[in-house]
């Protein structure tokens, strides 16, 4: 029996502890549900094999040149698509009633969201590692420095962390995990493929170039190319970080608000 007088307020420290507990839960899912792993590991491998051998000759003349060009793009593609997982998990939690339980507990209202997002960083890191490792197996070579390459991996994770707030919002409003999947694809496909991920901007028709040049995926991909194989770094990195900040500033508060209001 509880005989204590309940606390009036929740300290931010408790909120942080709640978040870490829920991050642990999210990571535990990766461990206890190994059926999730093939999708996470095989998707980037599939992208690499498909795009390298289908587009390689046509776009860059030979496969090796194209691999050097496209791998940073595939890195972006794989990680960005795996951010959809955040929204899917959230909507699943809502559907199954897990969130009702969370909401009936004396925990920080934002902890389930932050916990889910933080836990997903591990998934993205796995995506990055698999893409790089398999790319190297196919013949990709880092032409910059190991430090720059590490910075590249970090940057794509930072951007993914920002994107998954958008995904989280999708998860809160889509109604079902399947809904997240198809609404997400509808938005993510043009966003990712409508960039310089697979094809140099100069080879695209003029009207499309206008879109591609403003697409944050283009900046991210440029930054990744700069950090992994060489080229301009400063401008695309700054733009990518600004976009990341913008995404968080816009979508995180909306997601938290929608989450609080959800009845």
């Amino acid at each position: 029996m509880t005989t204590m007088t309940p606390a009036r307020h929740l300290s931010p420290l408790t909120g942080l502890a709640n978040t870490f507990t829920l991050t642990w839960r999210s990571l535990l899912k990766l461990k206890t549900n190994p059926e999730d792993l093939p999708a996470l590991v095989l998707t980037p491998i599939m992208y690499l094999v498909l795009f390298t051998y289908i587009f390689g000759g046509a776009i860059s003349g030979n496969v090796h040149n194209y691999l050097q060009f496209e791998l940073p793009g595939i890195l972006v593609l794989a990680v960005i698509f795996s951010t959809l997982g955040t929204g899917q998990m959230l909507s699943q939690d809502i559907e199954t009633g897990v969130f009702d339980r969370f909401r009936s507990l004396p925990i920080a209202r934002w902890a389930p969201l932050f916990g889910a997002v933080l836990g997903d960083v591990a998934r993205y890191a796995l995506s990055v590692a698999v893409t790089l490792a398999f790319g190297i197996l196919l013949g990709f070579r880092v032409e910059s420095s190991p430090l720059a390459a590490a910075a590249g991996c970090l940057l794509v994770l930072v951007f993914a962390l920002a994107m998954c707030w958008f995904s989280a919002l999708l998860g809160l409003i889509a109604g079902s995990a399947r809904g997240v999947q198809w609404i997400g694809s509808l938005i993510y496909f043009p966003l990712t493929f409508g960039s310089n991920v697979l094809v140099p901007t100069a080879k695209l028709p003029g009207w499309l170039q206008a879109f591609v040049k403003g697409n944050p995926m283009t900046f991210l991909t440029e930054a990744e190319r700069g950090l992994l194989v060489g080229g301009p770094v400063e401008t695309p990195v700054i733009r990518t970080l600004l976009w990341s900040l913008g995404l968080v500033v816009v979508f995180a508060p909306i997601a938290v608000q929608v989450y609080r209001r959800r009845t």
């Binding site: 929740l10 899912k29 009633g97 009702d100 339980r101 009936s104 902890a111 009845t263």
Partner: protein, 332 residues
């Protein structure tokens, strides 16, 4: 906390909740005394779940007030959440996690230190007969196991007030009996339980007080006995030894009481509500005069089913089965 509400654990006054054009709750009042079980009884769609969700701080009522142990569910939601446990209509455990990790997670979220949280998880799994399945993912559990895990999850923090939303729906009779025993044990320890149910039998067995709601309004409230008394008088049930005489019995009773009796299809038992039990001796004489041998004649309080019928005008759902006799040693 108000002095007059010192022994009231859950109180709602004029709760209103609308979803678009539907009014789920239309001014609901209810109160549960400390250490008792309050049954919220009503047909499907009556507003039971909405009421629980308001009381458990999951949704905000559009009007009215509600409090748990003196804390307002809207103004003091954080305090309320420290005092309550909730078990939803569907098992709201994380299917991907093992039973143990589900309980550990909740313990940690409640701020229990890791070591104690682990001990509490093991203790609850043991108590709910889930120790063998502790490390298996909850998605591999049967319906009854999942429900028990869900109940265990709501008890990790030893809540003073427990909300159980249709806790026995879909449970087999044995699990249901175990759950009933558990609920009784909780109130014996001083906890207050609000449970919703469609089953009158359950409310009759378990609840100290019952609030009947239909279409979002309270249509009756009181102890099971008070509710039964409300249906008026007593019920007279007569079963002739020869089922073919049921029609004669029926007309005789109709004549005597001025009411149209009902005859059950399977047992030829004729039942009627009587206000004055003095009709019984006269009736017995007349049955004897007509040579109708009576196998059984009884005067009883109306069942909650009959009360429910007279209150809501609809037939309550059948409970899944008659509960098996209480299994010794299964009480928790």
């Amino acid at each position: 906390m108000n002095a007059h509400s010192a022994d009231i654990a859950i109180e709602a006054r004029g709760l209103v909740k609308r979803f678009g054009k539907t009014t789920a709750l239309d001014g609901v009042d209810l109160s549960a005394r400390k250490g008792t079980v309050l049954g919220l009884l009503g047909p499907n769609g009556a507003g039971k779940t909405t009421a629980v969700r308001c009381l458990a701080t999951l949704i905000r009522p559009d009007a009215g007030t509600a409090s748990v142990l003196g804390y307002d569910v809207q103004r003091d939601a954080h305090q309320v959440r420290q005092l309550i446990g909730l078990t939803g209509q569907y098992a709201s455990v994380d299917e991907m996690l093992s039973g143990f990790n589900n309980l550990l997670m909740i313990g940690r979220l409640l701020g229990i230190p890791r070591k104690q949280a682990k001990a509490r998880a093991s203790e609850l799994l043991e108590r709910f007969g889930l120790a063998d399945a502790a490390t298996r993912a909850a998605k591999t559990y049967s319906g009854g196991m999942r429900r028990r895990l869900d109940l265990a999850a709501s008890m990790v923090g030893r809540p003073a007030v427990l909300f159980l939303d249709e806790p026995t729906t879909g449970l087999d009779p044995r699990s249901r009996n175990e759950l009933w025993a558990m609920v009784r044990g909780l109130t014996a320890d001083g906890a207050t339980v609000l449970l919703t149910t469609q089953y009158l039998e359950e409310a009759d067995h378990l609840c100290h007080d019952i609030t009947v709601i239909d279409h979002g309004t309270v249509i009756a409230a009181g102890s099971p006995d008070q509710l039964k008394a409300r249906a008026g008088g007593q019920v007279l049930a007569v079963t002739p030894a020869d089922p073919s005489r049921a029609a004669d019995v029926q007309s005789l009773i109709a004549e005597r009481t001025g009411r149209t009796p009902a005859t059950s299809a399977d047992s030829a038992t004729v039942t009627v509500v009587v206000d004055d039990s003095s009709v019984v001796p006269a009736l017995v004489r007349e049955l004897d005069d007509k040579g109708i041998v009576v196998e059984e004649l009884m005067l009883r309080k109306p069942s909650l089913d009959e009360v429910f019928l007279s209150l809501t005008g609809s037939v309550p759902p059948e409970p899944p089965a008659t509960p098996a006799p209480q299994i010794a040693g299964s009480a928790l």
